[in-house]
């Protein structure tokens, strides 16, 4: 049955390298198909990243050498596709045995040439695109060549274009695959389904329970959660390099570039053009083409010829009308050209619709409303159009996104970082312990050479006091998510901040409750752009603005301790520990970057360490210190790749602060003005 198998072994240097962009296209296509398949399953928590292991090579064979398989005329034909199939009814999960280290494994059947009894091939052996797709799968981390370990099976029988295969014989070829088993866990790829005269919207090849990644599904043939709708590949745009074009108005408002349209649509388009003149451009085939230009790359309007797909970049909106099939290759061209697709194809299941939000990148218009399409498009705000042209969104996803005001009852945990200033530390502890909402006090003893004072010497306070000893004298220790922190709110306070009153601290906690996803602190600082030096500068003088609060006295959510310790980008943590400085600036960067929000400075207080101190605390006045702090800002901005800090002009005061109102009736009368 099998012809002789020959291996032609060639050196890697002789192998033409696959164009990277094609490879990337197919890798992406395949991973999205998998993503679509597993979107509804428990599989979502399986690690699914894809790796292409670039430049490795194995022995290569030519398609000319593949074995030939002769199919007897009476070999079995699978049942037609089962429309009621769903993952839980037709998919065998047991073959995808759960194992956190394992990925879903995909097996590709070896390529064979199937011929009917008369020796006529059932289809073209393999197309360029299908070869690339399978190669992409074989390059991915999902691939296995061990059929016994596979969860998904991909036949190498090329079904991309139904037109180039014989339906019944192809089905027979599928049925004799070694693990076919009614098509269970078999994944078929098809881009052009159906044939004349009806052009069904799903592959006509009987395929029983096999999963289908198909282009051009309609809502009636698509099995939601089982099939995956894929785009129709367009070689035109893949072969031509289109420059990236920014958003903004373009020469034509609306463009129709498809050549094979039903006359009924042609009439509608002609009417649109007649009504709106220059803004609408309707292209068709060129009647008299000069020699040498591939007809597919030229489109004409009357006598005027345009290059395709380049002309797509001249239009804001591009029509994607249904033809004989629902899925149209022009959709890929249009998206690639950065033109906003106007999809007019009722009941079409858009590619990857289960994971893609097409409403953000396209306009879908019912066929019946085709004559209104111009006014519908006109009503779209300009900035929405730009948004769609951009096709991407600079998104901040705040990990604490739910608007919540935590109850007061939980209180906060104060964390005092200390080295050896015991006297001042005890004063801070005594002061902080007066704050009603304090629920626990944690002292981080950062001195490895000296033991903390004996238990009996510590101030007696009404809440639990715990001392944590650290292994190394690092500033980062202040931000470690200690298990001892049982509240959500954390007050970070230095061991020399003795001036803050109980009212100020309690008020700070109340403000934090209203902004649990922000840094809420007392001393405020600002970053400025130094135009002379062309870099960022740290500012602590009396300013009208703040963009940071010092964590020498600040409330924040415990989550940020976790982020600081485990998710700080780059080498910032090490930098901070090496320089013994800027841990607070790093924290400000981190929080602003992840939430996209500004800090809240509370109360007017400017002096924190002693009444006689200058308004700006001693250390900060030091010139070298300022230089170092500026350096930190520049360093962090380059690590983050952006300046996340937000500048605001406000601070939070109690509602009745400085109001002409009896002090004893105020909730927070003791708010220092210094």
């Amino acid at each position: 049955m099998c012809a002789s198998v020959k291996y032609s072994i060639r050196g890697p240097a002789l192998i033409p390298r696959m164009k990277t962009k094609h490879r990337a296209y197919y890798i992406t296509l395949f991973s999205v198909v998998l993503l679509g398949l597993i979107a509804t399953g428990m599989f979502q928590f399986w690690p699914h990243s894809i790796e292409s292991s670039g430049d490795w090579s194995v022995e290569k064979r030519s398609v000319r050498d593949v074995p030939v398989v002769r199919l007897p005329a009476d070999s079995p034909v699978p049942e037609r596709g089962d429309l009621s199939c769903r993952m839980h009814t037709c998919f065998d999960v047991y073959r995808c045995g759960f194992n956190p280290r394992n990925k879903i494994k995909v097996y590709i059947y070896p390529l064979k040439k199937y011929v009917g009894e008369a020796g006529v091939p059932v289809s073209s052996t393999i197309s360029r695109e299908y070869n690339e797709l399978l190669t992409a799968i074989s390059d991915s981390d999902y691939y296995t060549d061990d059929i016994t370990r596979a969860c998904l099976f991909v036949p190498s029988i090329d079904l991309l274009n139904q037109n180039s295969l014989r339906v019944k014989e192809t089905a027979q070829a599928l049925a004799q695959l070694s693990r076919w088993d009614r098509g269970t866990n078999h994944l078929l790829f098809n881009m052009l389904p159906g044939g004349p005269p009806d052009y069904n919207t799903a592959l006509d090849v009987p395929r029983d329970r096999a999963l289908l990644a198909g282009g051009g599904f309609s809502t009636w043939t698509y099995r939601q959660g089982y099939d995956v709708s894929i785009p129709v590949y367009s070689p035109l745009s893949a072969e031509v390099d289109l420059p990236e074009k920014g958003p903004g108005p373009r020469r034509y408002f609306l463009l129709s570039s498809q050549v094979a349209l039903h006359p009924e649509y042609r009439e509608d388009l002609a009417a649109l053009q007649a009504r709106h003149g220059e803004a609408v451009l309707v292209l068709d085939k060129c009647s008299n083409l000069s020699e040498g230009v591939p007809a597919a790359r030229r489109r004409c309007h009357k006598q005027q010829a345009f290059d395709y797909p380049q002309v797509l970049q001249e239009a804001t909106f591009c029509m994607v009308l249904r033809g004989a099939r629902l899925g149209q290759a022009v959709l890929s061209d249009v998206l690639r050209a950065g033109c906003v697709p106007v999809i007019i194809a009722d009941s079409y299941v858009l590619p990857f619709s289960e994971v893609l939000d097409w409403k953000r990148a396209s306009v879908v218009v019912p066929e019946e409303k085709m004559s209104d399409v111009y006014s519908i498009l006109q009503s779209i705000p300009r900035r929405q159009i730009e948004e769609m042209q951009r096709q991407k969104w600079g998104s901040v996803s705040n990990p604490l996104f739910l608007p919540l005001i935590p109850p007061q009852s939980q209180g906060f945990t104060a964390i005092v970082l200390t080295y050896d200033r015991v006297e001042s530390l005890f004063r801070v502890i005594t002061e902080v312990s007066k704050v009603p909402s304090l629920s626990k006090l944690l002292v981080v003893w950062n001195n490895q050479n000296k033991n903390p004072p004996e238990d009996s010497l510590w101030p007696k306070i009404r809440v639990p006091l715990k001392v944590v000893r650290t292994a190394e004298n690092k500033l980062s220790n202040r931000f470690f998510p200690y298990d001892e922190i049982e509240t959500e709110a954390v007050l970070a306070i230095d061991d020399d901040i003795i001036m803050l009153t109980s009212d100020e601290l309690q008020f700070g906690y109340e403000v934090w409750r209203e902004f649990p996803d922000r840094l809420v602190g007392y001393p405020g600082r600002l970053h400025l752009w130094d135009h002379e030096m062309n870099k960022w500068k740290y500012e602590s003088e009396w300013t009208n603005e703040v963009s940071m609060v010092l964590t020498g006295a600040a409330f924040y959510h415990k989550y940020f301790n976790y982020l600081y310790t485990y998710k700080m980008p780059g080498d910032i943590k090490n930098w901070v520990d090496a320089h013994m400085n800027c841990e607070d600036i790093a924290m400000n960067f981190l929080v602003a970057n992840v939430t996209g929000k500004a800090v809240i400075k509370v109360t007017p207080r400017k002096k924190f360490k002693c009444p006689e101190c200058t308004a700006i605390d001693g250390l900060s006045l030091d010139q070298t210190h300022m230089v170092e702090r500026s350096e930190c800002i520049n360093k962090f901005a380059s690590v983050f790749g952006t300046m996340p800090l937000k500048v605001v002009e406000h601070r939070a005061d109690p509602v009745l602060y400085k109001d002409d109102f009896p002090e004893k009736l105020k909730s927070f009368p003791n708010i220092g003005s210094l």
Partner: protein, 716 residues
Amino acid sequence: MQAKKRYFILLSAGSCLALLFYFGGLQFRASRSHSRREEHSGRNGLHHPSPDHFWPRFPDALRPFVPWDQLENEDSSVHVSPRQKREANSSIYKGKKCRMESCFDFTLCKKNGFKVYVYPQQKGEKIAESYQNILAAIEGSRFYTSDPSQACLFVLSLDTLDRDQLSPQYVHNLRSKVQSLHLWNNGRNHLIFNLYSGTWPDYTEDVGFDIGQAMLAKASISTENFRPNFDVSIPLFSKDHPRTGGERGFLKFNTIPPLRKYMLVFKGKRYLTGIGSDTRNALYHVHNGEDVVLLTTCKHGKDWQKHKDSRCDRDNTEYEKYDYREMLHNATFCLVPRGRRLGSFRFLEALQAACVPVMLSNGWELPFSEVINWNQAAVIGDERLLLQIPSTIRSIHQDKILALRQQTQFLWEAYFSSVEKIVLTTLEIIQDRIFKHISRNSLIWNKHPGGLFVLPQYSSYLGDFPYYYANLGLKPPSKFTAVIHAVTPLVSQSQPVLKLLVAAAKSQYCAQIIVLWNCDKPLPAKHRWPATSVPVIVIEGESKVDFAFTVWQSFPERIVGYPARSHFWDNSKERWGYTSKWTNDYSMVLTGAALYHKYYHYLYTHYLPASLKNMVDQLANCEDILMNFLVSAVTKLPPIKVTQKKQYKETMMGQTSRASRWADPDHFAQRQSCMNTFASWFGYMPLIHSQMRLDPVLFKDQVSILRKKYRDIERL
């Protein structure tokens, strides 16, 4: 680096695939690690890679899958015109194949928009409370019409919720009752609500009468029977589910680490035999009595003793030991296994309790699956993989748990906490289908404040709403407010200012105009101010508004204002009280001179029911209270008060007669009763207190006034 590579791949891939990356679901590992090669080289002994099975990279010059002229020739050879094709589709695809295109008459919605008609209730027809609540929610909504000729959608006043023949709520002869309705039209454009269908032993999903071309809003619907983009899957809710308002989510704060006492819990009935019994019967395999507590009881039904199996007694004893609510509130994950039907009450209970649901109900079309991305709030398991559930959920990263849990709370409060929300969500989903090009995208549905508060008719651009600046990477634009600044040397006559005002009012982006009158000349007489369609506020003095405006830019979704008011619960009168006294906290700011996003004007006009707006209009009072209610209901946050001049002086154009009304004792009483009417419509008290005021950074600081940006405020 990773991002760079990503974009490179995107650009080169160059197709709609590009869009995928914005979902972040797909991760490309940029490193060219050679794990696979290692896999191959390290695979000795156990498995020999046979060259026959390995996919080779064919170097041949192959032909493309489609000859370049195939499509062209095919497409132009089609004989059926698109119109004929549409007509053919709509006549073939009926019944189980119904779609909007084939079974819904869009023309009914063209003229009057999305209006919903509820059939008048027949005498003697019993309607259970749940269905009464559904009808009341529709009738109280802005979609309701009492005129069937205006309607786009029809809802029966026959109780179709419980179609279990053994149930006491079951309505008999529904078939003939429905057929006799003269507007029935074979169910076209009708929406039928259903919670239970079928009965013992097979629990089919048939509602027991011919629904024709009607849409189903049904609980426990299976993917096989669900007609995508036609039916709506709704959650199963109990008869005690509140009509409006509803309980808040249980989560009060985010705990770090996000793990609770139990990892996974379940407490419920066990069916020993018959449909759906397998899953719950197997739960004991996973139960470990420590952090995985899955409890079942056999004690239900009349003669459970007869059928009990060997486990029943042991199970029942365990079952009694645990308190369901305690478990629910102290568990990270809650198992939601199917019962007799696919949906169960456990689902909404878990959602409300901020316990991430772990679905174990194969083939259940999850509630509102058309718009809600459940992967962000639940774990969708497979009944066949029950034994792997513990290891699966233990492998979920804590950051993911934190996000899942917050999302349960968002979804619960946005779409599920009351019958009204469930009904409105159903209606909005249908409306979005009918007016496809002005519908909500997935981001709107799945992000705070959710689809019910974001009306796409206002704008199709997300940046026009105050909620998505961070998602879009935008700053709140400053063009929403026109500030007209009149300064002495410039203003010799008031005419230019007034002309400017008219011009500004015409701008589509102008929500309000603030005239800052900062000159020696007195204000022009009232009658000389032109009539404008937008509110005009005249304020003497300068920096106050500038400052408030910068504050608003930080909090664009809230109201930022000056004079504040507060609400409190009056225990003696058992109702809400209103106070304008100086207090240490506030929950409203007066909107006469407040800054808020223009969108709230739209929401006020189009979201609130006519009853409340009429009340406000008749009283000529309380519109500011209502606005505060609305904005706090949307944001779940208090308004923001900024520093206020004590001798607060403002002239509100066209509202000067108002000043005198403040002296009116009725005025205060009215405001009190407004509060209570509003709270009852919302079903709860949305106002939230704040204890802080925002001042300029250097406000009242002992530093030279020259250093201060907002000097005027200092003089207060």
